[in-house]
Structures are given as C-alpha cells and as structure tokens.
Symmetry: C2
Subunit: 430 residues, 2 copies
C-alpha cells in the first residue's frame, strides 16, 4: 500500500483516479456478438454456448425438475442463511414503497405522481469461480416487490450444462420463473433484442466481465435501460485509534480479494492505526485462498494520513467510494457529512460483508466515483414514476392565461391555442 | 394523418416505431468539438462562439448588470406568468421530498437510506427561434429544492452577445447565479470537463439539437451522468365521442408545431371523433405561424381506431407515449391502467400545454418509448440515495453467522474472515 501524508488539494484528483476501464478494443468483438444474436437468435446462442461455455445445449430454459433437484440437494444451513438474508433484504426494500401524493398546485389543478413497475426486467448473473447467488437476492427481491410482470434471469451454464444450485435456490426463493442458460455478451443481446426462447426486456441489471459491461454499454445507447455504469469494486475505510487494526485489515482484504483491479483505500488522522493495519494486512493476506489476487490489488492501493478532519472528509467526498466504512468513535458525526458514497458502514462491528450479503441494504452500488451522481439499486430501480394531472373548468380559467402568456413568449402559438380554444368555450358557456 | 382500423397485434411494434435518431454520422464532428474543449478550454470556446454563434466574446459569464437589465426590461405580465408557473412547479416538486426511513432488519441491525443532493449540476438551455425559459424553471427549481451546491447554466448567445431576457429572468428567479454564454456540443464539453471559466459538473440536464444530444451521449459513456436519452417530442391522445373535436385537434397541433419529427397519435373507439378531429386539424393548422412544421409532422402521424377498450389500452402501453392525453368520459378508469407513459393529462380541460408550462409537473419527459423504463425529471433527478447501516455487537452475533455461511459458499473467504475476526473478539469478551 502506497502511503501519503497530507496530500495537497491539487493532488487529490490524481489520487481519486481509478484505473480506466479500457473497453474500446472490445467494441468490434462485442458488436459482432450482438449482431449475430439479433440476426440469428437462438441459433447464435447455441453456437456461443458451444464456443464459450463448452456445452452443447438443446434448450436454454432451466426446467422445473432442475430447480427442484437444486433445492433438494442444497446444504440446509446454507438454505437457512439465504432465507434470512432474503428476509432482511425484503424488509429494507419494502420500506422504500411510496404512497401517491396528490396535491392541488392551484384551486382546480390537481397533480400527482405514481410509481409503476417496469414491466419486463432482465437479471444477469455471472458464472465462473464464484457463484453470485447473493446478487440473485439483491436484484430479484426488489423486482418482485416492485411488481415487475416479467423477470428473466440469464446465467451461463457449466460445461456439463448445469447451473449452480445456490443460484437456482435463490431464484426460486424470490419467485423468478424464467431462468435461461445463457452467459456473456450474448445473454445481454438476448435480453435486449429477444429471441424465440428468451423474451426481450425494458431494463437489464447485473454485474459481469468486460464483455458483459461493453454489451450493456452498447445496448444502453440503443434505448434499453441498464442499472448503472460499471467499474471495479472498491472500499474506502476511515479509521481512528479506537479502531481494531485487525478488523480494518480484514475489511481491506475482503475488498482486495474481489479482483486484481479492486480499489482499496485507508484514510486516517492517525499514522499509528495505519501502520498497525498494514502489519495486520501482511499477516492476514497469507491466510486467504485468493491471496494472489488480493496482493495484486494491494499493490495499487492507498493509505492517506490527514492532519485535519474536515480535509479528510472533503477527500472522502471527492473520492466518492462505492463502500465507505467509518470505523471511528465519532462515526455518526462523520456520517452526517458524507455527500458522495454508495453505501456507508458505521462503527467497529459493521463490516462491508454484512451489507454485501445479508443486512438488508443492496450491494449493487455505484463504483468509479459515480456515487457523485448515481445511487445504488433500490426498489425504485425497478419502477418508474408517471405524473398525472387533472384540471377542472374553474382550474383552467385561473391557470389558462398564465400558459397563454408563456407559450406566446416562447413563440409556440399552437400551445397557446390549445388553451384559448378551451377558455373561449368556457366563456361562451357562462 | 394515416388512419388504421383494428390493427393486428403483430403490426403494433411497427406502429409504435419512432423514426430512428441518426446520430452516428455526427460522431467525428462532435468528438472533435469535445476534444478541442478538453484540450484548449476557454480558447476553444471563444473560437466556437465565433464560428457557430457569430459573436466575438471577451467573457462567457453573464454579468449582474446584464441580469438586472433583463429583469427590468421584461414585460410585467410575462414576469407574473413566469412567477405563477414557478410557484406551481415548486409546490409539486417540494412534495416529492422524502424523510429518512430507518428500520431494524434484525435486532441490532439498523439500516437507512438518505437522499443527498448531487453537488454540481449543469443545465443546458438551447437558443434559436424559441427561447425555452420554461425549461429553466423545470430544471432550476428541482435543483434548488434538492440543495445542489453548484448550478451552472449554459445557453448560446445571440450574434450581438446577449442572452434572451426571459431566460435570464427565469434563471434569476430560481436562484441560478452562474450563467454562461456557451452553446451546442461545446457547452456540453465545458460542463463535462470544465474550463478555466466554467466549472465541471456531475450531471448534465436539458434539451438540445442533435449535436447536443450526441455530445451528451458521448460524455455519459465517460462517466458524467445525464438526465435521460433524447428523442423527438410526442403526444398520444385517447378520445371518445364526448371529447370536443376542436380541443383534440388543438392538442395534436400543439405537439406537431414542435418540429417536423414530432410524433402525433390519436386513438379511439369511435371513428366519428377521429374524422371530426381531422377536419378540425385541417382547419386549425392554417392559422399557425409554424404551419409548415406542423404539416410536415402530421404527414407521419397516425390515427388508430380500435373496437375494444382493453386492446386500445394495451396499444397505448406498448407505445409508451411521452405525453398521454385521455380526453374521455371514463378518463380516471383508463388512467388506472396506464403502465407506460411520461405524463398523463385527464379530461377535456387538461391540455398538454398546461403541463408544458405551468401546472406544476415537469416537462422533461422520456420520449421514444423510453417511458417503459425511465421517469421524467423530478426532485430525485437532482439527488442520489446513500444507504447506511450500523450493527451493534449483539446484532453481529445474530447476523454474522449468516454472512459467514454465504461468503463461504461464494468462495470469498476474505469476506468471511471480516466477520469471523469480529465474532472471535466478541466471544472472547463474553
């Protein structure tokens, strides 16, 4: 970990810089995949399954019996853990429901706003080494609470044509009925354009490798909504001398093990705790199965010591971390000053892992400084708001002349006429 | 207007198709503008002002005295109209404020979600024939209510170096202090990258021509948030025999006058009202100053007659119109079934123009079918949600083992350790 003491404000932008996601070179390859799926549908998907997943599929859809057998074979304590996590996630996201608020902006001018589910949504769950069944909960539960009528899950099959049973159990638990064995950029293409087997959707959610990221970027330019722009996962920890350095180290490492490009930052007013945490990192990293990955991530990681708390907080807001752990005695006071972050963890007994899995908050969060303008996934990510208005005859008599005046000044006489023709009729009536 | 009676469901996707926005050919030209601003900052902006706006500027910032003189010279009834509109817009958007809801998902596991303003936002207001001061209100008011600390407005100058006084009055009214005379793709570049004169922002709002649209598309790929994808404005009207055909025609024309590519659709169960409305359109269009534009838009417009109300509603939801006028006796009942629309206008005395200017709802809305997954601009468009959590020692004792089990199953042992190391300490304490 590179250590910096009291960096000047001019150096902050460079310190807050994440590695650039180099995706341009994938443009041709991914566009080719998208076009083949657009043109040949299921036939293209079968070819890609053979090429990338090394499996000859006859059908993409996971059957009822595959789901039943996954549910039956999964370890009972793991099932119970997933059920507890699901219950917490459901509680937190259900609390986000909003009532319709109807107001009269003027007498006779009623305006309101209603949340309505996005009808068709797609969830992508990557395969590979770690089966991300937790992401099935994080995306499937708000989709169900929102009331999306069609929820499609795509995930790549293993080379024996199966899907990880924990993924199937989690999907079944949250009521997802349509699960397809399709991975990579071709899954994003299927969700965006639809094929004979796989229905197209209005919005696509979920993490993935750089092919998936590039594919989501391209289809989002074509009008399909996506959850948010992607980047490597990251944590920033604020620690003081009351923090247990072994906890700080464990939290840094739980981020570092994600990938060699994970971003790990420790900031403090105390050089002591930083030094202690680093010693602990060096000790603990050796115990990790993914220690090579974690060590790689640590190489580009950063610790910054400040001599002033307000500067420290300004720096954190400029960095805009995806995950922010505030492991200090005054964590509540610091939390009040957080302007830019995805999700914030307060105190010594609130590790990021809690939110990654089971406390109830969502783990799909803005990386790469996007927290300056983006929020994590929530119930609202699966809904849109429609505004409504109803104006009475009396209401239009009051509001109408205002609109006429403004439309005329914007030189839109057709707009003005749509009011004038009504006012004329009202005046002739009275 | 092309008329279709009882189209088969297979033909709906083609009927719902909007003209493709052809922006690819602009790629090179717009990237060149963006790169020049990124590289040369203000110097490039001065050159573009000379080239595109035909004006030699010495400074971009609108001065206090320019604002004062605009406020002084503007017609008093127009000022009053703008003030009334602003007051309605403020009431509607202020009602969207949300309280923090803190819940315990398990004993000792507290989770909450806080709305925080996006710190720095940019508003683009096009120049040209119609000075869109109404858009200044629609974007500036929620920005102020959200509490954005920096609101930057860019708008192109006239060839005499001035800015339309109604735009300056509206900006001053909503408290925007930083107004710059910069237009087109170069304004988007300045807001995205910053120059010596113009600060960079986290999110860019506002309409514009195809250069502006392309520039917003490009910078959004680079991590600057934008309000929503753009497309030509559109209205769909549902009318029955109780509707006044002259009102229906005036509403169709108020959309058609926007641009030759405006989308105008009339649907009904009654061929009679459609025929009457068309006759009225032919009469009223001749009275419009923008009649050539309106006639051009009408060429590609559509009327569809259905023999079944549920089919009619399904079609409307598939079309997902930006503006939906329900001018029928049962407008409330139909409104309940609207799943996809930007903003909905109910009854005979609620023309779209009311919402375009002054009723209080926002007029920045999803076009091109994007209403399937996107919402119009609201208070939330200027905020992001940050989640927080705080877990007590007792809370972690209950939640911790759940996380350990799940992390292990996802093969993320570093995640598990961040829990285990804490539980170990807690167990040694007790």
């Amino acid at each position: 970990m590179k250590q910096i003491v009291n960096p000047s404000k001019e150096s902050w932008p460079a310190l807050c810089q994440r590695p650039q996601l180099e995706l341009e070179f994938l443009d041709g390859a991914v566009k080719n995949i998208l076009n083949r799926v657009k043109k040949s549908g299921d036939a293209a998907l079968l070819e890609f399954a053979l090429q990338f997943d090394k499996v000859k599929l006859t059908d993409f859809k996971v059957t009822e019996s595959e789901i039943k057998s996954a549910v039956a074979q999964l370890d009972a304590p793991l099932k119970a853990a997933i059920q507890t996590a699901a219950s917490n996630i459901e509680k937190f996201h259900a609390a986000q429901k909003r009532e319709v608020i109807k107001i009269e902006t003027m007498p006779g001018v009623a305006c309101w706003r209603k949340s309505v589910a996005i009808q068709k949504v797609g969830i992508y769950i990557p395969g590979g080494s770690a089966p991300l069944f937790s992401t099935v909960l994080m995306l499937g539960i708000p989709a169900k609470l929102a009331g999306c009528t069609e929820v499609i899950l795509c995930t790549p099959p293993s080379s024996d044509g199966s899907v990880n049973p924990a993924i199937l159990f989690a999907a079944d638990l949250v009521g997802i009925k349509k699960i397809f064995k399709v991975g990579g950029a071709q899954a994003i293409a299927a969700l965006a354009y639809g094929t004979k087997s796989i229905p197209s959707v209005d919005k696509i959610f979920g993490p993935g490798n750089q092919y998936v990221t590039k594919a989501k970027q391209i289809v989002s330019q074509e009008g399909v909504a996506i959850d948010m722009p992607a980047g490597p996962s990251e944590v920033l920890i604020i620690a003081d001398d009351t923090a247990d350095a072994s906890f700080v180290a464990a939290d840094l490492l739980s981020q570092a093990e994600h990938g060699a490009d994970s971003q790990v930052v420790l900031v403090s007013l105390s050089e002591t705790v930083v030094t202690k945490a680093k010693t602990e990192v060096d000790r603990q990293v050796e115990l990790l199965p993914r220690k090579d990955t974690a060590k790689e991530a640590l190489k580009s990681s950063l610790s910054v010591v400040f001599n002033d708390e307000s500067k420290l907080i300004d720096f954190v807001n400029e960095y805009a971390p995806e995950h922010l752990i505030i492991n200090t005695q005054n964590s509540d006071a610091i939390a009040d000053q957080v302007m830019n972050a995805g999700s914030v963890f307060l105190g010594g007994y609130t590790p990021e892992s809690a939110g990654d899995y089971a406390s109830g908050t969502n783990h799909t969060l803005p990386t790469n400084g996007f927290a300056r303008a983006f929020s994590g996934v929530s119930l609202e990510s699966f809904m849109k708001h429609i505004t409504f208005q109803k104006i009475s005859e009396q209401g239009l008599k009051v509001l109408g002349p205002v609109v006429e005046k403004m439309a005329e000044a914007e030189q839109l006489i057709g707009h003005k006429n749509s009011i004038s023709i009504r006012l004329k009729k009202l005046n002739s009536k009275s």
